[in-house]
């Protein structure tokens, strides 16, 4: 805890009534009448970890630590916890869901995000396992993100409206073509009372890395192993989780990439990649080539996007914002 008092100038009140009023004003200035979602998330995470998540997490962590130990000595374990919340301005952008402008087209890639417009998102870097690094060796770091989605303070009615709009603008079949069943189910997250958790692990190997104010940069034959994905990139940026989730923020960003998914097999080459913190989707732009089990796709326009999940592959065309599974255009 901080030792230095935060408010200690000549303007700080001393009487107990004024001190009370000072605290009310400071809290009101900080959040108005809104809940402190970050605090609630922190507490909820703690009690949920005790009750539900700890078992899964422990098994996974043991496995990860063991893997790292085989490579080299674990030299640093740090914990960073920061919570982000989808703000209302973002909610208002997403909820209409027209899918025509560039920005909204991006959101249209994640139909359930429209429902998630009224949910809060917690993105927590739980653990950094930094393997021993010596000159001449490649740098290898491991990260675990704890992603938590929970209902916001917005009304239940709002979330239902958001979801309805998605389904009206996008046929169920179109959504189904893109989304795995589990993701469709997650469209109802906004109606859940309890947080939903997801743990995402990244192992990053690179020739070198450097810490910047906004995050970590990896350069030189970067390899990211993430679930069933293997991402080769010229450079990777791992931003520090910020206090707000904004439209273009990402868990991880990379440039000049080649992404391989093992099952179902898929390879995509693109200029840039970002991992959406809300959905966990891999979103690629500047795509030059995509290879799936059905064939090869090469005629991408500059505005086209490719989106990958564990099981799905989708192309969104820049001109009309429409969805394609990619299959109809494969040669």
């Amino acid at each position: 805890m901080s030792i230095t008092p935060e408010f200690s100038d000549d303007f700080t009140p001393e009487s107990v009534d004024a001190r009370w009023m000072d605290a009310v004003l400071r809290e009101h200035a900080r959040l108005g009448s809104e809940d402190d979602e970050e605090l609630i998330l922190r507490v909820t995470r703690e009690i949920s970890q005790v009750s539900q998540v700890s078992q899964v997490s422990q098994v996974s962590q043991v496995s990860q630590v063991s893997q790292v130990s085989q490579v080299s000595q674990v030299s640093q374990v740090s914990q960073v916890s920061q919570v982000s919340q989808v703000d209302e301005s973002r909610a208002s952008q997403i909820a209409p869901f027209v899918g025509t402008s560039a920005t909204k087209r991006h959101f249209s890639l994640s139909p359930w995000i429209a429902a998630a417009a009224v949910i809060a998102l917690s993105l927590t870097l739980l653990m950094t396992l930094k393997t021993g690094y010596q000159p001449g060796q490649r740098q290898a770091d491991e990260f675990r993100f704890f992603v938590q989605v929970m209902p916001s303070t917005l009304s239940q009615t709002s979330s239902e409206v958001g979801l309805t709009k998605v389904l009206k603008n996008q046929s169920v079949s179109e959504i189904s073509a893109f989304l795995p069943a589990s993701d469709i189910a997650s469209a109802s997250l906004a109606q859940m009372r309890l947080p939903d958790f997801r743990i995402e692990d990244f192992r990053i190997t690179a020739d070198r890395s450097r810490a910047m104010p906004h995050g970590l940069i990896y350069e030189g034959d970067v390899l990211v192993e993430h679930g069933g994905f293997r991402i080769e990139a010229a450079s990777v940026h791992l931003p520090t989780p910020s206090s707000k989730v904004i439209a273009n923020e990402a868990t991880l960003m990379a440039s000049r990439v080649r992404v391989e998914r093992t099952t179902p097999a898929c390879t995509v080459e693109a200029e840039s990649l970002r991992i959406d913190p809300t959905s966990g989707q891999i979103i690629l732009t500047g795509v030059s080539r995509a290879q799936t089990e059905q064939g090869e796709l090469t005629d991408f326009a500059p505005g086209d996007l490719v989106v990958l999940t564990d099981r799905a592959f989708a192309v969104e065309r820049g001109s009309d914002g429409s969805f394609h599974t990619g299959l109809e255009r494969i040669r």
Partner: protein
């Protein structure tokens, strides 16, 4: 015994009042938030010992107070006497009770009271609390002496406290000046 889900709801219901309480005690928002977080976690861990016939808000205030005393022992400053502590408890208790009875929220009432402040005090409060300026910066911003700002803030706090007290006792819509 409350499930994690039920306990999360309790956290949502009570955290803002407890944050004000902890902030009044510590005068440090980061510390206040740490204390409230730790208090909730302690409460969750000890929820089996909580007598459900008792008031949860009172129990939580007690835990926050204990956490604050632990913090005081480490930092040896900003202590409050028993009488002052009782005054703070009265305020927080009154607002918690009001909300439990379906009355309006402390912060919503504060919105109203702020609008009732005289313009000079309004702009001073706005600059100091809501725009994040320190006292000297507010003085420079408003073109008055720091001593005047100090007086204005004192006056504003008194008027706002009176306004909130009146609203708490349902004597609403009285001018504060």
């Amino acid at each position: 015994m409350a499930s994690p889900e039920q306990f999360s709801e309790l956290v949502r219901t009570h955290h803002r009042d407890l944050l004000v309480y902890a902030l009044a005690l510590t005068r440090n928002s980061a510390t206040a938030r740490d204390i409230v977080q730790e208090a909730f976690i302690t409460a969750y861990q000890k929820r089996g010992t909580f007598d459900e016939t008792r008031d949860f808000a009172t129990w939580m205030r007690g835990i926050v107070r204990n956490k604050w005393r632990e913090w005081l022992r480490k930092n040896r400053r900003y202590d409050l006497g028993d009488h002052e502590l009782s005054r703070l408890d009265e305020d927080i208790t009154a607002w918690q009770s009001r909300r439990a009875e379906g009355g309006s929220d402390l912060f919503a009432e504060l919105d109203d009271c702020l609008c009732l402040l005289p313009p000079l005090l309004q702009e001073t409060v706005q600059a100091y609390y809501y725009e994040g300026r320190n006292g000297d910066e507010v003085a420079a911003h408003l073109g008055v002496a720091p001593a005047a700002i100090r007086k204005r803030l004192e006056r504003a706090r008194i008027l706002l406290k009176q306004c909130l007290d009146r609203k708490r006792s349902n004597a609403t819509n009285l001018p504060v000046s």
